[in-house]
Symmetry: C2
Subunit: 248 residues, 2 copies
């Protein structure tokens, strides 16, 4: 039994934060000391909803989550996908009312951390506070990029860009090897993330496959030509602000 299974949630968080900031031993210990309650969620379960006033944040330990809103005529728009190591509602630490929903996209294991503990930790360890602040700023940077993606890129590039982003994010936390990772999203969900219809997503994915950029086996996605995919998606990973960038 390795460290991963013993303190999986803490290690996930530490690994994630180390991918975007330098942590001191003291800060690492502080993270280990955080109280976390692990709970599992089935697919498509809302974790927090618009209007909620959470008193804790949650960390994705295993699985996949997404934040979304509905537009007036009922269409869903995802604003972000969250992978293991992410704290999707960290913003609730300083914004009391949720302005969006967050739900699971696959069966997921989540670790809940009380706001009080996080506030205390940030008060005691300014470096940790900076790392968490930085994490929310990177989320914002990703939102900005998504605005560009949805606003200005045609479907083919949009799709390529999203896949690049997921690949790099997953690689940073050790969840992509050999250009292969689990992509448990349906084409409808991909469409709701890119402002495209399911039908059009399907045709776009087929095009990417036909051009030899990607391949898929069930829920597994294989990037066959990273250079071409990057180029197609005009992908520049700067906005992810990774410190130890392994993919590029």
């Amino acid at each position: 039994m390795d460290e991963t299974s013993l303190h999986q949630e803490r290690n996930r968080l530490i690994r994630k934060l180390e991918s975007i900031a330098d942590l001191s031993d003291e800060e690492r210990r502080a993270i280990f000391g955080l109280p976390m309650t692990v709970r599992t969620f089935a697919t498509d379960k809302d974790i927090v909803r618009e209007g909620d006033r959470p008193s804790e944040c949650f960390l994705v330990v295993e699985g996949f989550a997404g934040s979304y809103k509905h537009s007036g005529d009922g269409k869903r728009q995802f604003m972000s996908f969250y992978t293991p190591g992410d704290i999707p509602d960290l913003q609730s630490l300083h914004l009391d009312v949720m302005d969006h929903n967050i739900s699971t996209l696959v069966p997921s294991k989540l670790a809940f951390i009380p706001h009080a503990a996080l506030h205390e930790a940030t008060r005691r360890y300014p470096g940790l506070a900076a790392a968490l602040w930085r994490d929310t700023l990177i989320d914002a940077a990703i939102f900005r990029e998504w605005i560009v993606n949805v606003g200005r890129r045609p479907a083919y590039a949009r799709m390529a860009h999203l896949l690049c982003e997921l690949a790099v994010k997953l690689k940073a936390v050790g969840l992509m090897a050999d250009w292969t990772f689990e992509l448990p999203l349906t084409q409808t969900e991909l469409g709701d993330a890119m402002g495209l219809s399911t039908v059009h997503v399907n045709r776009t994915v087929q095009e990417l496959r036909a051009h030899g950029l990607i391949r898929s086996e069930g829920r597994t996605l294989i990037i066959e030509d990273w250079g071409a995919l990057k180029k197609a998606g005009e992908f520049d990973p700067t906005y992810l602000h990774l410190t130890n960038r392994r993919a590029a």
Copy 2:
């Protein structure tokens, strides 16, 4: 000569922060103590650019700024507009490299504050740190809403939504009275913010005018039917997280 002209930049910042958080007298004094260098910029001047590593943040004192990126084929996409009181590149406090550009949209007066001074102030006054963090989180909330706007709303609603947002933001800092405010954006800039062509923006604006929702006199925009505009834009100001909301 009133307080506004004497310490215009400090007052702008205090007023802005008070619209999103409660400040103690001590924190207000700390803001007054911040070193600020005021500089004026002409229209369409980049203040910071992608790749820059700023050592100071800037506050919009007068004028209008916007953050943008270019997509691969040269199309511009605005990701945010900044009005007096905003600190557009506050994120540079914890993200060293700029991942986007920020430029003026009209002749503007900006106040530059060294990172060092802000770091020192946040270290000394946790309440101030929380207010600034909160400010960046609200920016992120606005980005999220823009993703929905660009991704899922048709042009007419998209336009209405953007106007509602600007109206509420400007009202919060005292720059809208009688449903009237200065909108110094060209239709091309509006298009670049909404992912629409200039031509289509023009036709959409005409529609809004024809339906009696808005009226314009030069650069002045008059909201003629706030209820209808809100409805058309599916506008719910929750995401702006204003504490003293006067418009709604």
